[in-house]
Symmetry: D2
Subunit: 346 residues, 4 copies
């Protein structure tokens, strides 16, 4: 932490700050410039922050220097990007993971039909929600355990690993039985008990960025999962909240190269929720692939117009093949190949 | 829901939309203007939204007309403002509730000392955190059950009702034993299982607005609590995230009159977290009172410079008396009186 | 304009609103639903808005129905996209316009060298600033007329049309002599006298979106130019201001398909200013091309490390060729070809 | 500027950065911590920024230390707050300036009636717009010179100093003849030629914060005016753009204490434009006064329902007296008195 003193700070004020830093068990390193003095406080960021030096006599402002996350940082792996296996598919570091499927699991026939379509179209994994966080308590909240069973069946049919959301720590055992990847939604990005809970499972975790989360906060949330020993975390950009109301969220694609510099973890993009309209989803999918994303998680529906939830933004199953083909060709220009089962790579 | 058709929409497109609306069990009401046609879809908002009409041929955009919350709406009580009792204090509708205390319960002596100070200074309730949601997994996470016991003791000493945060539904039984008001933090505003859980208790709920939540989303979160039968919900503005980085959050005081128009529920302001600096907290406290808030929840510490968490923003206990006096005088101009125990009102 | 009445609005209140609408010279069209009544006010949007009905007795809220821009709207050209010529290059509707050059014109040798490099690499036009809007009054403000002369020379050397910024209406005559496209910067997007002034020239206008402008406001700014009779307007997304501070601005690529639906005008993306770092500029350039942009305006410098202004974000001239090649290949997948002089198309 | 190196930066990379800093004419000061090295670059901020060190080998990020504004800074007056006279009224440092009047000058009778009412109610100055920046080119753009003449007449009638907006540098001579305070609107906050122009007049300047401007950018804009020798600048908070759409803008009252700490200039609040509804304007006026603002600029209209522009948000002249009385009583609690003509203070 750097403590920037005011230009008019007195010697006594400078000494007082240095003393408080040292009393807190950190060491203070004073640099005198021509216009002002800066005190480097070496020690734990949290510790220095809790000293209340912001607003203390002679102090202008504080500047954190060290990043607060460790296990999630690029430094932790010395700049090497993470790559891991999920259900025999490689994820990260040159691989492009195409996750597709319905927003919500609604019916047996629909789920199995979409699963077969996306498998045939070359998807890497199947997504589908059994537990749904809904803005309104009066909306359909998902099929729950019945939904999990249908996902299991889809996995048995197609071999695709399953990505599904967990919203309540009390359901973790049920979800672990079916999920290869546990999704944590944007609204739960800072639900710390839930993060720790999935950190203690042996399933990979897809962690969505909160609507107003900074990249640093997203990485701190990942740190909660990593700290429990779970190393397979996928970061997911899905749109942030801004002043613009012409679409539901603003997809922040600069987060892709920025997260890839700050962290070794793979970066996935959800191109469906920000536009909220299927005719803009392909445009954002290609943009994400071009920007260097390590994958996409997209909604596909066999009959979008009759979907119970978020139908308007789902890509019709009938056009998935063509869509996947175009995404693959752009991802290739950005230096990535769509990941297939390890077996298939032989 | 109003479906605004494009100026160039054909008769066939208009008829097709109307048919889809009616097929979904709603009724369609067509209004032809000089420049364009609008179709009123009367029925459930969710139902019409799920039709995927946004982007359908001839459709320009959709405009929701009915508000999605019901129990939280001003209409639900025919414009009359809610007033209820918490631990013998009246809250809402002309009362000003001054909630004060430490951010986190850290020690027995500190907690009891602050409790006595704020009680003597005329506070309505005591706040204090036993379970703390922290951005970093390496930060102090609160004393847990030990913290709850100290709050209980503070209540016995001063008679002040207790406001404390719940972050994990699995701790609800412990918290209910001590809390008169269960606080739901900004990061959990859309943690729906948690909202439903506190909705099933007989404790009042103080619900903080999420960092990027709209007022409508805050009221939808309140609806989750109300729907379970718990009528005592306090809405809390605590600062939103914006582009400005000169302070931690932007305190949005326009939310006070706006929420009071949209809803019958009392509106409380947290003036501590947005500035993050104690010398700006009083300024925001007076502003909240002047703007017509139904109360304030403020951090007070007996020795802020040695606080484990958020010390820099706590008001020193030594100056609480004077602070409370100034808040009361401004609240009076805005037509509110600081609420005292019902017995004291006789 | 739709006037949504409160559910509890009385017949007298409904009648009073309808009367005020008609007194203002508009016609009122009353629709009674089961839960509430909506009054359609047919007439000028501005007129109805100025009635002050927001907050009037019985009124819940107002919903504008008609878009406030006309000449910029997709409807104005019946859904056909604009295409026009600038210095013998076609712009819009399937063409991809690659505008490249230095942020600021600094020296004769540098400007001519970059111009030759980007011409050889297939750029459509040359950008370069002679007048620079700078946040600090102490920063270099551009070479002014001397800069314009250098741009003229670069045009004579390469044949590339010139894109350069105007920040003061009093300089319009000087700029018109050199510019094929007059750039209006983000900070001047709502400088209405300046917009009208360039609307009265016969030069094309590249209009950058303001940092917190909505798409509707951008189109209203374009309307100021179009209204004066100038039909050649290029809309430019260059990043908006959000809560995220990991980069200078958040590039909003969803604006591409959204603007292309709302308006017939070409949509250009500036991938340089949002990242503020050259290693992220290519990522955003490819993303913009993949998302369907009608062009890119990118900063290129012969020696970025010694640039007076914004050097850190400029692409080195030495790597422009390879960069342009990759942009072109992605644009091709999105169905666009890089525009060359009309003569060259034969 | 502090240059924070990556933990893994090599000695060669550290040396290379230090060399580039010194080659640019700044001095480099290397501090080695246990985890990373920080290089202090002492010299002009602009110069170091233009080196393009962000993204250079071994560099993690750059942290500016010195504030970029000088004349506007609190340090420039050694912590003493500015106070100056405008038309015999004192402004700043304990004075509360109540500026009131119509949004737009529409008619002779209306303007004079409002002027008399606000003068009688104790207003310090009269506001009124002759030139209006309007989002739509089809809206009423103000009476121009005719409007200025009516303001002159209102000044002669009441003695109130005149506050009026300038939007085009070419009109500066006309405006100077009438205005005691030239208003620069939010949309023109970064119109640098306009700022320099009013900096060269001898009229005070009321500078509104842009919709997405940071406090630092507002102070940099003030610096443009101050740099020309004009010392009488009033900063004005008028609401920023955020994700919330329940009101037109989010009034950011934390800007009051923050600007008062960063700068010696008086801070005025416009409580009318953010709510956009008169029933919320009083709430925000009292909040601004309570938060310690040095004044308010509020819209008052003799017949708001027939106003041509922004009528819905104007306070009716008939209730101005009572409104002003309440504002004064809250301002008094915040330690300010409403400024009256110097003569009247005797």
């Amino acid at each position: 932490m750097m403590i920037v003193m005011k230009p008019e700070a007195s010697e006594a004020e400078i000494a007082a700050v240095a003393e408080r830093v040292e009393a807190a068990g950190c060491s203070a390193h004073i640099s005198r410039g021509r216009q002002l003095t800066v005190i480097g406080a070496i020690g734990e960021r949290e510790r220095v922050q809790s000293l209340g030096l912001d607003g203390a006599p002679g102090v202008d402002h504080l500047v954190p220097i060290l990043k607060p996350y460790k296990l999630a940082s690029a430094q932790f792996r010395a700049g090497e990007r993470s790559q891991f296996e999920i259900g025999e598919r490689l994820v990260g570091d040159g691989q492009f993971t195409l996750i597709a499927g319905p927003c919500t699991v609604e019916s047996r026939s629909g789920t199995l039909a979409v699963a077969e379509t996306v498998a045939a179209g070359g998807a890497s994994m199947l997504r589908g929600g059994a537990y749904k966080p809904r803005t309104s308590p009066y909306s359909f909240q998902g099929l729950g355990q019945e939904g999990l069973r249908l996902l299991q069946e889809a996995n048995e049919l197609t071999g695709l690993p399953i990505v599904t959301e967990l919203i309540d720590a009390r359901d973790v055992e049920d979800v672990v039985e079916v999920a290869d990847v546990i999704q944590i939604g944007a609204r739960n990005m800072q639900n710390y008990p839930l993060l720790s809970e999935v950190g203690r499972t042996d399933r990979a975790v897809l962690l969505k960025r909160g609507l107003s989360a900074t990249l640093e906060e997203l990485l701190m949330a990942a740190e909660y999962v990593l700290k429990e020993g779970n190393e397979r975390v996928l970061l997911c950009e899905r749109g942030i909240r801004t002043h613009e109301s012409a679409y539901r969220f603003t997809l922040d694609l600069l987060a892709i190269p920025a997260l890839q510099e700050l962290s070794h973890l793979p970066v996935i993009v959800d191109p469906s929720h920000a536009p909220g309209r299927r005719d803009w989803v392909e445009s954002m999918s290609l943009a994400a692939a071009a920007a260097g994303a390590d994958g996409i998680i997209v909604e596909v529906h066999d009959d979008p117009d009759s979907a119970v939830c978020d139908g308007p933004q789902a890509i019709p199953a009938a056009s998935f093949d063509e869509y996947a083909e175009r995404v693959r060709s752009v991802a290739a220009i950005a230096g990535r190949e769509v990941s297939a089962p390890a077996g298939m790579l032989v």
